[in-house]
């Protein structure tokens, strides 16, 4: 499991690579929460295009970060969802609370209200 981060003004872009299961969930949660201590971050974009496996432990991680961002009146988005992920995101109702984009660029444009 690898975590990469990028900043674009008040947007934090996180790229997750590898397998997000219970074993790796704690590390991802801690890494994200450390970055989110910076309260100037209002938007979180999770780039999942490099995630080759995820189970419901990942759902828990996403919902947890969604709640943190929501308290700031911000928004959490996901980008680059493949078909295994699509199925579990669908089943768990995550599309109801997280906006999904094809890729990070479109997510940023969506947040900025471009296009």
């Amino acid at each position: 499991m690898q975590i990469f981060s990028k900043r674009n003004k008040d947007i934090l872009i996180i790229t997750l690579e590898g397998e997000l299961d219970h074993h790796h969930a704690k590390g991802v949660r801690q890494a994200l929460d450390r970055m989110l201590e910076d309260t100037s971050i209002r938007y979180l974009v999770l780039d999942l295009s490099g995630l080759c496996f995820m189970d419901s432990s990942g759902i828990g991680v996403f919902i947890g970060r969604y709640k943190v961002i929501k308290k700031r009146d911000g928004q959490t988005c996901i980008a680059g969802v493949n078909s295994q992920l699509d199925k579990i995101l669908e089943v768990s109702g995550l599309y109801n609370i997280l906006k999904a984009y094809d890729n990070v660029e479109e997510a940023i444009n969506g947040i900025r209200g471009v296009a």
Binding site: D21, H22, H23, D55, S56, S83, V91, S92
Partner: protein, 150 residues
Amino acid sequence: MMDKRNEMRLQFLSKSQNESFARAAVAAFAAQLDPTLEEIADIKTAVSEAVTNAIIHGYERADQFVEIITRVYNYSVVIEVIDQGKGIDDVELARQPLYTSKPELERSGMGFTVMETFMDSIEVATGPGQGTKIKMTKHIKNNEGEMGKS
């Protein structure tokens, strides 16, 4: 056609780093049925849910054994995930979407729902202090002998 019946049993320590090993091993065994990539992903996800539950809910410690029995038949795979842990009091409640007894671990309560959605059937045998056995079946529509199927 060739008789594909086959069986493996796997026991491993209830350490979280074995979750990925467990799903990889079951997937490697199920591969003999020539499942699609989607079917393999479904099986891995369901196994991951059941094994994670055995580790965090059943045992709560890392020195016990989780067992997985995998049987393949000509058109299906049957997977049992077994722990000798604390068992489930109220199975109906446990199977509700979003119900979790461990919100402090940020569990989503979606494990059973995922298993039910990704597999064709699931049976739960459990009781307080009696451990838990999850038995899941998935049909595999392989190429060979497709004519015999509806």
